[in-house]
Subunit: 244 residues, 2 copies
DNA sequence: CAGTGGTCTAGACCACGAA
DNA sequence: TCGTGGTCTAGACCACTGT
């Protein structure tokens, strides 16, 4: 055995993953667990910290330690609209969209290669599985490239719009996606209901037309335990064979 | 102020970011720092853990705590060998390679679509900027696809091999890269000198030939503050224009 | 109020790295 | 061997939640 707190984490992890302790159930108090495992509370808390960093438990001050509900990972498919990443993999996913026309602040103007203050359309998109947020995306398109029918004046919660959202503007000639892992911005953390100390997978998608003009910029953020991203030089089917 | 260890972390952070403690310099020992701040070693270590999770310091058992060189993010370029991600962006990067022939364990056999125990070549690759690890990669290739000259019997530290490493085996017809953010495995955490609770950007690259045979599988892990990954439907130059 | 987790102490002992 | 960080103890006291 390596260290005592890892042993304890391993034991508790087994109890959680095998269902011996159910999701959203409360664990015994730290004092009880420390007593049961014959360790000090400090050591037991190190074990719980391991499980927390793995996303298995959630600590609530004054109430207890709770088993988190497991979440299915969705697959983000790169390369533009091959699959609609928001809806194809998870038919039951609910998507809330809000749209607006804004004047580009500096960082967005740079992404879109426009001058600061240019009018752009913003589509803010929050997907959720049940009550639990799955991801957030903000899409920015030069205002003159957006047909009027796409913009909505108020919030909506429908898959129709989500699908349309994937085809705003003219078809791009090239798509570049940049991926990194980073801490969430405060607004992202609250929208995704994760802690500021956790990590999000961040994907920035830039689409350009054949003339090199940026026709769309999308900033996406997903809790790191909620999504994988996949990029292929060709489409593949489930067997990994190239498709026609 | 919130908690004592946060105060101490804040103070040390100031000393690091203002250059009062230089990059790759060793901090005073934990006992000395605990004495100076009039706290127990446990509290001081909590402060250092904060700095470590921020990527500011690096802990080396038996040697000390060292200020990390400021983050120079490298760019991982998807889509196979368009750029050699290990050397092109960082000419000064040192790469250590170890190679061996092993029998495929189950999870690797599944990736390579071979049967468990099949002979495969493993190339383990650790890149470092000066002394600070930048990333780790393990490449697996079916043994019969590797020409004898590529395999080395012992460790080496040269860029020649690193370049050759990018062209092992026949050219692939398709490449699929899967990206996620996850906790490092214990071996990865120690090789990259990051904490087990921090996050790595994980990229799994699968290359297949025109017949659909998997010719290479590469598992990569990078500290999340050291790398961005970029995927394009076409190569672009710095201005974002498609290239010939 | 009682019960919970959060912070902290002042030690002890172990494991690693360099001389 | 010595100095370093890593693990652990057996408490103390504080902060939050619910009754």
């Amino acid at each position: 055995m390596r260290s005592r707190h890892h042993d304890i984490a391993h034991d508790l992890r087994q109890q959680i993953t095998t269902g011996r302790i159910q999701p959203s159930e409360r664990l015994p108090s730290e004092a009880d667990l420390a007593d049961r495992y014959k360790v000090s509370t400090a050591t037991l808390r190190r074990a719980l910290a391991v499980l927390q960093s793995e996303g298995l438990i959630e600590k609530i001050h004054g109430k207890g330690n709770f088993v988190r509900r497991p979440h299915r990972k969705i697959m983000y498919v790169g390369g533009w609209g091959i699959l609609d990443p928001w809806t194809a993999a998870e038919p039951a996913m609910r998507v809330t969209i809000r749209s607006a026309t804004i004047q580009a602040p500096g960082h967005l103007a740079a992404l879109l290669k426009m001058s600061t203050g240019s009018p752009i359309a913003e589509l803010s998109c929050l997907s959720a599985d049940r009550e639990s947020p799955h991801g957030i995306a903000r899409t920015y398109v030069p205002r003159d490239l957006v047909s009027a029918g796409v913009l909505l004046d108020d919030d909506s919660t429908c898959r129709e719009t989500a699908t349309r959202f994937a085809h705003v503007g003219p078809p791009p000639a090239a798509v570049r996606e940049t991926v990194c892992a980073r801490l969430p911005a405060p607004a992202e953390a609250s929208a995704l209901r994760i802690s500021l100390g956790s990590v999000v997978l961040s994907i920035t998608r830039i689409a350009t037309d054949s003339a090199g003009r940026v026709v769309e910029a999308t900033l996406m953020a997903f809790p790191s335990d909620r999504v994988d991203a996949v990029f292929s030089t060709q489409q593949m089917n489930d067997e990994g064979q190239a498709q026609a």
